[in-house]
Symmetry: D2
Subunit: 191 residues, 4 copies
Amino acid sequence: MVTNTTTKDHKLALLIIDMINDLEFESGDQLLKYALPAAHAIKKMKEKVKAEGFPVIYINDNYGQWQSDFRHLVRHCIDGDSRGKALAELLKPDEDDYFVLKPQFSGFFGTPLNILLEHLGVDTLILTGVAGNMCVQFTANDAYMYHYKLYIPSDCIASADKKENDLAIETMRQVNKADVRPSTDFSLKHF
Amino acid sequence: MVTNTTTKDHKLALLIIDMINDLEFESGDQLLKYALPAAHAIKKMKEKVKAEGFPVIYINDNYGQWQSDFRHLVRHCIDGDSRGKALAELLKPDEDDYFVLKPQFSGFFGTPLNILLEHLGVDTLILTGVAGNMCVQFTANDAYMYHYKLYIPSDCIASADKKENDLAIETMRQVNKADVRPSTDFSLKHF
Amino acid sequence: MVTNTTTKDHKLALLIIDMINDLEFESGDQLLKYALPAAHAIKKMKEKVKAEGFPVIYINDNYGQWQSDFRHLVRHCIDGDSRGKALAELLKPDEDDYFVLKPQFSGFFGTPLNILLEHLGVDTLILTGVAGNMCVQFTANDAYMYHYKLYIPSDCIASADKKENDLAIETMRQVNKADVRPSTDFSLKHF
Amino acid sequence: MVTNTTTKDHKLALLIIDMINDLEFESGDQLLKYALPAAHAIKKMKEKVKAEGFPVIYINDNYGQWQSDFRHLVRHCIDGDSRGKALAELLKPDEDDYFVLKPQFSGFFGTPLNILLEHLGVDTLILTGVAGNMCVQFTANDAYMYHYKLYIPSDCIASADKKENDLAIETMRQVNKADVRPSTDFSLKHF
């Protein structure tokens, strides 16, 4: 059962969606092209967020591997020499990072994510990761319905298709009322 | 995303609730007394179930340790020389066993359990574990509302208090329409 | 979409579970015997709660009648001269009372109840109604997992069987940490 | 509790989203322009679907009116002489139509919709209504994660902005694998 630790009231959390990813699927190549610069931007964002003591949560597809741990997936991507190796190395989770395995596109669907966020006292989410028009947007939609404020830095989001990525970001700005300014403009003073 | 593997239509699944447990809490001692014989019965049940190719799912409290893996928890219980070491040794998960970490009493609350069960094509659950009047009963209630048929072998359920355990089993028989015959009566022909 | 009206921060809500009920089922007769005095106690509780401006929420089974409104159900129970007529007359909903139709035992399962409670700013629930060992207990379990504080006045709860009702109340006291003192002891100063 | 009536295995259901709507909000005027021809197309679709005995489900925003019934909302739109009167008259629910009130954009979020669809034995949804880039798309996303097959006839969907509507339809075609051919091409033989 959820214990009431001193982790309450973090207010802000950084979500890193599907970046621990072997990219071994069609269009994985194409996605990598855009995901790599996003990974660099997310890495910097992660440093800023952790410097202030805010939590970082990896949201990851379980790829139908219901018997696997997240740490196992990290090793698979790095040691397995997969297409996504560079991403996993850049964004290798720390011991104190959180993770949530999701069976579907949205990070909230069939997962404890909302319970974890309530446990951490979070009301604002920084969404980053891939793919912008799929898992990120589905997660943004649920986040919006749960009343989280959204910051979705445009340079921390990637999709296999640049135009679809831009459309997804524009939709999240309009429909989900997300702040989509690039992470280079980011300052914790916004929050 | 859920891949449609050949794991469909297993029909039956064995759920082992909170038996991977260091029991390092008040009344853990008392619970161990009843959980140990239950662990022996569950071990036999697990063998029968796996011999027929049905899936085994460990449902486990995350103990507020949102950064930990299930395999880590198993090692903690066994190598850490905890009060629950004997239970974890008897019921050590196999590589092909499934697991679901739950943040609350019910195995369905804030977890992908229902999605996993649909993925596996399961319609009947064998519920086993601890504590009978808490996590087992809460899980049984949700399972009932999701329309699963329930087999809750009375000798595979334990609570810190024998009388409360008996009451929980009787309630699950009446309210949740569970078959509660002991596992010694169990035959896959029932299913 | 949820509008942010001035209804926030009510803190306390009274839930009346399945008392709008034609009782036209086996053991309905038996249930009525205990539900009638409970209805009188709930009526008084409702008056006290409304006098302080707290919301009252009727939680009601939809009886598989997915095409019916709640107001229709109220009329059915009263005008239809059903076995449950006296209950519905005593506890006839006011225009400003809330209602939630549930497809299953728990008031939270497949309903907007938790969203409504968050909308109202509620953190403490007074649970009343029938049947104590079924819909009330299932609702209490979910409420507990959602971290609501529970007051379940023993004289406002009824089941077809007196002994089972007493057991359910005792279980909710122990497992769900509910205050179960009778409503005659109730004072809003507790909250 | 869900009763197992003879309504099982309908396979197909028509969902009509937010068309019972007073449109009394900014851009309601603009939305009406596109929603009116959509209403005519939905009306024809409804006739075809009902002729084959498939269920029709109205999914409707509760507009924060947690104390109101759906039938009340219908009367409000028609008798209240609202901007949305023509829509409500065209698509006035029949006695045997189902309805689900939703507190948020998605018809699945905090509602019994999925339970109702399972109860009806539905595996394919025809999504129609407004707004295409908001409630329809959010509902389509959840439907996709629940593994429903989707038919979203492009002429039965409207948004306040034509271009955004087209983008939403194209996204649902690509991401949610929806069939988006116009309803004029519709034949029950597809299913």
